[in-house]
């Protein structure tokens, strides 16, 4: 009996210990769910630090004498919202780059010229932090923000204006003429020099766009917290986003292309996206962009650049044209990506979940024969996919400058 009773007592004790251990595990799990661990490895910290600091300074563009000029910025802002820039008077830059949609339009492919014009081939890219880029457009067909601004002004399926129209607008509107004179130190050129007015208008637009830098995100707050060793602040980063961040930097190797503080290496890659625009017509992507930028008389090697050294045109000068660039498109920044749906060069993916699914189920047969050998299907679980999306959502800035803030009235300097 004693023996049996002893055994029973031992069994009860053992059961009690097991119960206690389970309880501790449960408590530990509960605590872990509420307070994410902050023991980031040196490799993780290094990876996180490489995506900052934020915001990055937008350096003055030597090819644009209006860059950083407050009067030019005011002129650019006024033009950005002015529907008279279109000869029809019905469309401004902000008509496609909608402030309430993170400076995109929410469409899969742009409808630049309104309902009466054909859809364009590509998705409207957002303009937040555009000043940090070096190639502009999905194909990088422009090598400066100001030459990129000329394209939609002249494109017949977008604003459809001419240099003469832009010059007339600048001359005929007293406020615009005043801002132009303050920005460039002279009156709007006459009709015979309308192209100068066009380029100046585009440079003012670029100067304005350079000011559109978004604020810090939850990710930046994590980065800053890790940089200063603030464990409590780092612990506020959501657990699911942290798991997604680990996937982004690890298994996904996303940071190889979505590199640096702006989450883009600024270059072009083939990720296996179809590039058939319609039956019988393909979008050549970067291959066409290289040809276009080389042929562009407004490129950084041309006479309209204000960089006398032409050093800012070195990238354009050294561009390599190779067949691998066919079907490549620019790596977009992931900052504020949550706000810029739909995704990819033709907006064919409606949600971030669709984007993650693309990389998870990647059809390698679709990759161009010279596509990224790096890309392999990630085969993510449901949880992993959700975590990756959660991480991407932490790249949304908590604050944005007010793009609608109207500049004050213009007073012509030197006029008493």
């Amino acid at each position: 009996m004693l023996r049996a009773a002893g055994l029973n007592a031992a069994a009860l004790l053992a059961r009690g210990l097991v119960f206690l251990a389970r309880g501790l595990v449960f408590l530990a799990a509960g605590a872990a769910a509420q307070t994410p661990p902050v023991d980031y490895s040196p490799g993780e910290i290094r990876s996180i630090q490489s995506h900052g600091p934020w915001p990055q300074p937008v350096l003055r563009d030597p090819s644009n004498r209006a860059s950083g000029n407050a009067d030019a910025i005011a002129l650019g802002q006024a033009l950005f919202f002015d529907t008279r820039l279109s000869p029809r008077g019905d469309l401004s830059c902000a008509g496609c780059h909608l402030p309430e949609r993170a400076l995109t339009d929410g469409r899969d492919r742009a409808q630049g010229g309104g309902a009466s014009k054909p859809r364009l081939d590509r998705n409207t890219q957002g303009l937040w932090n555009a000043g940090l880029g070096r190639w502009f457009g999905w194909d990088g067909g422009s090598d400066s923000l100001w030459s990129f601004s000329i394209r939609p002004i002249l494109h017949p399926d977008e604003l459809g204006a001419s240099a003469a129209h832009v010059a007339r607008l600048l001359r005929s509107d007293a406020a615009l003429a005043c801002r132009y004179a303050n920005a460039y130190g002279r009156a709007v050129p006459p009709e015979a020099a309308a192209e100068t007015a066009l380029v100046d208008a585009a440079k003012a637009l670029a100067a304005y766009l350079e000011t559109l830098v978004s604020g810090k995100s939850a990710f930046d707050e994590l980065r800053d917290a890790l940089a200063r060793g603030d464990a409590a602040a780092a612990a506020r980063y959501p657990a699911d986003a942290r798991r997604g961040l680990a996937l982004f930097a690890g298994k996904g190797q996303c940071g190889l292309c979505h590199f640096g503080p702006n989450f883009s290496n600024g270059e072009f890659h083939n990720i296996g996206m179809p590039h058939l625009v319609e039956p019988g017509r393909v979008d050549p992507g970067r291959h066409g962009g290289i040809r276009r930028v080389r042929a562009d008389k407004y490129n950084l090697l041309g006479e309209f650049s204000d960089d006398a050294t032409r050093a800012s045109g070195s990238r354009t000068l050294h561009l390599a044209e190779n067949h691998a660039s066919y079907g490549q498109f620019k790596v977009p920044s992931l900052r504020n990506v949550e706000l810029t749906a739909p995704y990819m060069h033709d907006g064919r993916l409606a949600s971030l979940r669709d984007v993650v699914r693309h990389y998870s189920e990647l059809n390698e047969d679709r990759l161009h024969q010279d596509g990224e050998a790096l890309l392999k299907p990630l085969r993510l679980s449901e949880q992993e996919s959700e975590d990756l999306v959660a991480f991407l959502r932490t790249l949304t800035s908590r604050s944005f400058p007010d793009v609608n803030a109207a500049p004050g009235p213009c007073k012509r300097r030197g006029q008493g």
């Binding site: 023991d39 980031y40 490895s41 070096r134 010279d370």
Partner: protein, 141 residues
Amino acid sequence: MMRAKLPAPGALRGLALAALAAASPAAYAACDAGPGVLRGSTPRVALAFRTTPPVIKVGELFSLQAEVCPQDGVSVTGLKVDAGMPAHKHGMNYQPRVSHTGPGTYTATGLMFHMPGQWQFTFDAETPAGRERIRVDYTAE
């Protein structure tokens, strides 16, 4: 472990290069090792070069200054420079331009590593008997 002291990439590379230099054949007259010098060789030609800036930044154009040192009896008539990521099977998006700056010396401009990771320089030294290909690995961070 909130803070991780980042290793100095240049310092590590310097050590690796010094080790490589020690293992290289000593038959070449110049192409000496030194701070920031990267080196490679074939049995017939050695090559040493520096990059500007010394630590290559991902996404930034850089140039390099190379010195070619042939073995006795070998003459080098030109140099081609390229680079790529062997694991990714792609090259650079930019075409370097090489100029001959003096006896055995060349400058290449317009190089860019657009992704972090393992890159490989390829130098083709042209000789009357054919090209001598020298490969030098580089990790961009």
